[in-house]
Every structure is written in structure tokens, then in C-alpha cells.
Amino acid sequence: MRRLDIALGLVLAILAAAFPFLVNAYWLHVMIIGMMSAIMAASWALLAGYAGQFSFGHMAFVAIGGYTAALLATDAGLPLPLGMLAGVIASAVFGGIIGWTCLRMSGPYLAIFTMAFSEVLRIVIVTEVEVTGGAGGITVPQLFHAQTDFPYYYLILALLIVSVGGMMLVVASRWGLFFRAIRENEQAAAAAGVKVTRFRIIAFAIASSLAGLAGAFYAPYIGILTPDVASQDQMGLVVAMAIVGGMESLPGAVAGAIAVEFLVEALRSYGQWRLVLFGALLLFTMRFARNGLITPGWLRLRGLVGLGAARLAREAAD
């Protein structure tokens, strides 16, 4: 039932364009954070879900993107958009390097290695107070001088569409085929002529550059950047978003991110319970619904509507 996908896409497009006019500033902010998280979750899903590389260092690239943008804009006096671009490039380069260093690692070893990388980076940021502002963070200039968050909203919407659209193109291309082949069976992929080394590094670089993009947006939007972005709790949140959405579906990861973000905010009055909830959600999904909650749900709905439509058509024919 492809038509339902298209219908949903149209509704979402209209909703997305009109969203700032429909809600108050608070929920607009939540949506902006949700869409930014969606870039992080979808790029992690590309790396872990499609390419099979379970990195727990994804937030390090968010930090690299954010801090590069912030430091170039403040200390080096570069225009902010250029700094943001540099942040994306820096995280792509670091991502490629990390992808190259852990070529021979897989499974838990790769997870430990990337987690260690992330922790080392976080510790360096906390410690080098003169450069980074340490745990207190670094103040970042604003990108727009407007009364509302509207410009940020449309910017992140554009970035989300471009980055997720780009990833979907990659996934649909031969590269995506190679990523999945390597994930399924590295040995067989090599026997099939796939240059395993090259595509593992490419997957890492793409995912990292988009994590960096999210970081580069985050810094000026929030206005203050702290080493907490690279914390393991943030990593856990992103993993939960991707898994709830369905790790092997990019739109699923996007939907998962926005849904979890809204849930987290809706439960804000319950204080700390909301954080427990996403931990529990992650565990529940892994234990009982390994393909995620949102993607299979959508597929089932699509199937039901499809059946209903077929029945209607039959009845009409009778």
C-alpha cells in the first residue's frame, strides 16, 4: 500500500510547514530538539542498523561538530555558518579515521573502543578549560537575530530533510547494498567483490558527518555547549530513539526520535521518571520487539488499510 506512504508524506509536509503557527514557543522548541535528535538517531541507525557497526561513540562526533563550529566562531572569529560547515567536515574526517582504526574490530570490541574514544574526548573537553570552557560550557553566538525560533525551526527542518533524504538515497544506492552486505556477512561480501575496508570507512564518515551537523546546529541554537552532549546518557537516549523507531529504517528512527522527545517532554512534570521510561522502553523493545515499535506498527497499519481498501474495492465490484 504505497499510496498510504505518499498520503502520509503529504500530510506530514503540510503539518511540518505549518507547525510553528500551530503551537506555542515551548512545543516549537521541543520539536526543534526532536528534529535535531532525529538526525543523530537516523545517522546512528545508518551506522549500526544498516552497516552493522555498533558505535557507542556517536555523540563524540556531535561534540566535534558543535565545538568546532563554536570555537571557530568565537576564538577564530570565523562567520558562524562557515564554522558550522567546518564542524561537519571535521566530524566526517574524525569519523573516517575512527572507522579506519576500528576496521578489524567488530561487535562488543568496536562498541568498547568507540565508547572509550567518546569518553576520552569528553574528558579532554572537561579538562581543557582555557579552550573549551570546561564543564561550564562555552557560549556560542546566535545564528539568527529573531524574536522567535521560527528561523531555527525551518533551518533544522531543511537540514533534517536534506540529511535523511540523502541517507535514504545512499541506502537505496549500491552503497547501501554494500553496507548491508558487509553487515550480513563480511566474508561473503569480500568474496562478492565488495571492498569491505572502503565501505566500512565510508559508512562511519557519513554517519559521523551528520552527527557533526546536528552538533553544529545545536551549539548556536542553545547558545551554550557543554561536554554533556558527549555523555553516555545522551548516547543512550539516541540509541533508544533509533531502536524504538526501528533500527533498520531511517524514517522509523526519525519518528522514534521525535516521539521519544515529545514523550520525554510531556512527562517532564514526572521529573526523573521520564528518563527511566525511555530506558525501560529501550529494554522492552529489545526484549520483545526487536524490529522496533514504530516501523512494524506502521507496516501493520498499512497492511490493514490495504486489506480494507481491497475489501472496499471488491464490494464495489460486486
Partner: protein, 241 residues
């Protein structure tokens, strides 16, 4: 390129695991158009030989040459690029990818591959192997026999000059066995070269012209079928004495 040199050749090939030679200075040359059977008792180094001659294991000594050019140090994908295809003892598919996608991977990995052309080719091979109706099924949902055929099909997508088949008959039913024999014969008639490792000596005897026998990492016999059958060393190696 030298037409007089063998299609693929192992010269003094050696591999040891912890001091024990799994392949012990093996010489094996396969010429264009040959159909070679490689047999031997368990642990005689047959699969290791395939792994070495397709780039899946690093060689410890000697050389592998494709058409006279030494290709030591090339990764497995490089061998595939040179037209050296293989199947695995335990079928290695991309389990959660569709049958067609499994076929597309090697096709699209070839330089300058044209997608529409690759899809056409994949469908032609699937038709040949009798898998055409299953192209949208996930590979892991195929039966074991169908998986074997798909793996063969995937190797064909490399447009290989030579195919190494590692135990293509293990565990397949007699009907499928005959079918695989027929496929190999057809492909051989089309000009492809084969090296087949298997324990099923009936099938091997029906297929091959030349039989190589390994025991404890060494080649103990190599020649026409009839000659090898008379070889007492081979009988002795198999009776465990």
C-alpha cells in the same frame, strides 16, 4: 597476459596454524576449461587451499598466480575482481537481504556496472537456477538447497573465469544433487573452469576429468580419474592407516 600460463596456480603454497602445516608446500595449476575435483580425508587441507587461492586467508609461503601474475597480498575482493569466484562449505549468504539483492551485490561491485544490465543478468541466472519465482524472498527463508543454488548464482554474477565450489553436494538430496551436477556441466560447457571440493565421490566421479587428492596438507595424487582410482596411496589415506 600469457595464454600459456595456467588460469590459476599455486606454487609451493603453505599455511600453518600454530606450527602445523594445514597446507604443506602445495603445487596446483588449473588451466582454462578444466573441471578439477579436489578430495581428501577430513583435515587434509582442502578448504584451506581454497581460502588461500581466493584471498580469504593470508599465505605463509609460496605464491598464488592468476594468469601468471602473482596476486599474493590481494584481499578477497581483489580476487573476486579478477574473476575468481567461490562458494563456501557452510553457505554464506546475506540472510536478511532478498534473493535478488544477494545477486546484485557482486554485480554492482564490478567497476562500471550498469544497474539495469546487472538486474537483467541476475534474473537470467535466477531463471537458470530455478529461483526466479523467489527473488523477493529473504535469503534466510530459503531452504538449504535453494541457499546453495543462490550462493552459486551469486558467484556467477562475478562473471568468473574460475569457480571454486566448497562441498556443493554436502547435505543436498539426490534430486538437487543431480541438478547441481547438471548446472556445473552446463556452465563448464559455456567455458567456465571449476575446482570442486566434496566428499561425495559419486558426484565428483560423474563430473570431473581430473582428480587431485590431498592428505595431511599435501598432494598425494593428481591426474585423470582412472589413474587416481588405481592409486594405492589414496586408498590407504582413506582407510585411515
Amino acid at each position: 597476459m600469457n595464454d600459456a600460463s595456467p588460469l590459476i596456480e599455486a606454487a609451493g603454497l603453505a599455511k600453518h596454524f600454530g606450527g602445523i602445516f594445514a597446507v604443506d608446500h602445495l603445487d596446483l595449476a588449473v588451466r582454462e576449461g578444466e573441471l578439477v575435483g579436489l578430495i581428501g580425508p577430513n583435515g587434509s587441507g582442502k578448504t584451506t587451499t581454497i581460502n588461500l587461492m581466493t584471498g580469504h586467508l593470508r599465505i605463509d609461503g609460496g605464491a598464488v598466480r592468476v594468469r601468471g601474475h602473482s596476486v599474493g597480498g590481494l584481499p578477497a575482493s581483489g580476487f573476486a575482481g579478477l574473476g575468481v569466484g567461490r562458494t563456501f562449505q557452510i553457505t554464506q549468504l546475506f540472510g536478511r537481504m532478498s534473493v535478488l539483492e544477494n545477486m546484485l551485490v557482486p554485480g554492482l561491485a564490478r567497476p562500471r556496472a550498469h544497474k539495469a544490465h546487472v538486474i537483467r543478468e541476475a534474473r537470467r541466472h535466477l531463471e537458470f537456477l530455478g529461483l526466479a519465482a523467489l527473488e523477493n524472498l529473504a535469503a534466510k527463508n530459503l531452504s538449504g538447497g535453494q541457499q546453495k543454488l543462490l550462493e552459486l548464482g551469486r558467484a556467477l554474477m562475478l562473471e568468473p573465469r574460475i569457480l571454486f565450489l566448497d562441498e556443493p553436494f554436502a547435505g543436498v538430496n539426490p534430486y538437487l544433487r543431480d541438478e547441481i551436477i547438471r548446472f556445473v556441466q552446463t556452465l563448464h560447457a559455456e567455458g567456465r573452469t571449476f575446482v570442486i571440493v566434496d566428499h561425495d565421490l559419486d558426484a565428483i566421479q560423474r563430473l570431473v576429468h581430473r582428480l587431485v587428492v590431498m592428505s595431511r596438507g599435501r598432494k598425494i595424487a593428481d591426474g585423470p580419474l582412472a589413474a587416481v582410482r588405481e592409486n594405492q596411496d589414496v586408498i590407504r589415506a582413506y582407510s585411515g592407516a
